[in-house]
Subunit: 273 residues, 2 copies
Amino acid sequence: MNKEEYFIKQFSNNKIIGDDGAFIDGFVYSMDAFFENVHFKKEWMSLKQIAYKSMIVNISDAIVMNAIPLYALLSVAIPKSYTNEDLKELVKGFKKAAKKFDIQIIGGDTISNEKLDISITIISKTSNPVLRSGVKKNDLICHTGILGSCKEDLQKLFENKEVSKKSKFIKPKLKPYFFYEIAPYITASMDISDGLFFELEKLSKASSVGFEFFNEIDESIGSSGEEYEILFSFDEKNLEKINKIAKKHKVDLNIFAKAIKGKYRTACKNHHF
Amino acid sequence: MNKEEYFIKQFSNNKIIGDDGAFIDGFVYSMDAFFENVHFKKEWMSLKQIAYKSMIVNISDAIVMNAIPLYALLSVAIPKSYTNEDLKELVKGFKKAAKKFDIQIIGGDTISNEKLDISITIISKTSNPVLRSGVKKNDLICHTGILGSCKEDLQKLFENKEVSKKSKFIKPKLKPYFFYEIAPYITASMDISDGLFFELEKLSKASSVGFEFFNEIDESIGSSGEEYEILFSFDEKNLEKINKIAKKHKVDLNIFAKAIKGKYRTACKNHHF
């Protein structure tokens, strides 16, 4: 068990913890850290891109719970060396994401620090949350998009190679309209931030199911983190509806497994550097 | 203008930012960072004390807005060197504060980092928020408790001297029951985190008033930060009621100024180290 799991386990008397966000009385509350040298290196992205991505990875949590993000709180620790121009770039990134998803930045905290460390809280609204615990036996298991490029790009960045400006690692692409439309027809969902294998382990735990894979999934696919694609499950009877919605929104679907009795554990190590 | 102010100003089209928390539709959302080497050094306090204080400084924001804290989200960056025992101590501190104020810890994020950096979001409820913008001309200006000991204790800690275990710097003492009872009779409030002079500057800005001081306030008092005493204003007609409530809760009141037309600016430098 790593430290993160151990720490969270200390709060495990609390049933709310365990989804991308906490659902309470029609609201979803989620919070994610985006820290320099943990989630990014400053050489990899512009300040605007860093701020934008820090918002997007948080907004992703809201979307995959079928919640509409409303408000954001930002805790931003800023290196002393940053100029006002640097701060403006950061603000541009935060505002760009807020504008795109119609979110109001309502407050937070800023402090002076050695490195750029961002924590964000998103407050969202939903009348019908989709949780991780809803997978039923025989449900189909599916993820959006093509996995693997984020791991490749991360490797390139470590080797000081360039990555495409369109890299999902730099600029994750969320699919809110697609997701809100399939939400009534699915049983569980979460985003792929730590890598498919790790998310499947969490899904297995939350829903008490195992998975029967249709094809073997290569580690280069299953351990690619920060994809921010959507992992979800649904009853086969809704396959046609979901396929139609995916087509409409030009979203690739990859149905790769079926839920079975049992439990799934990955042997892979966590990707965090 | 320091970086913090500059950064916040970039969002200043947003009228909600400017109080200890953001009041929206009956809820107050507040978020504060509590970072190693910014707000504390690890030699100064036990991990339990650090976690406890990180919660208390956040809960303080809710109380001074007349809101009842309900939920907390924790973003905790944990040094790789920490043992499971260390994590248990941290959890004890978070849980102690949560229990004391009947708050549910509903989620957050944990990551591995070089130092212990905590950001906390508190979600609170109020039907009648008290803001910073409510000071009226001729209102009396008051703070609870005796100021100055936190600056002294901080100085001692920097000199590697011991401070009392009861030090307010280590363990701030909030006054929720006193505050909720005076709330209907006051016009504005905030907590004293950056020091009285700085809070007065914020109060002046938010309420467009100046202050006439009854006595000169020494810098050792006015620039003592992290006091978590309450600064508030009220109409003189409520003086007797407020005095009575203070007596009942054994809270010291220090009525030190009167709101006048004008504007207040401090010449002191911010206390953050």
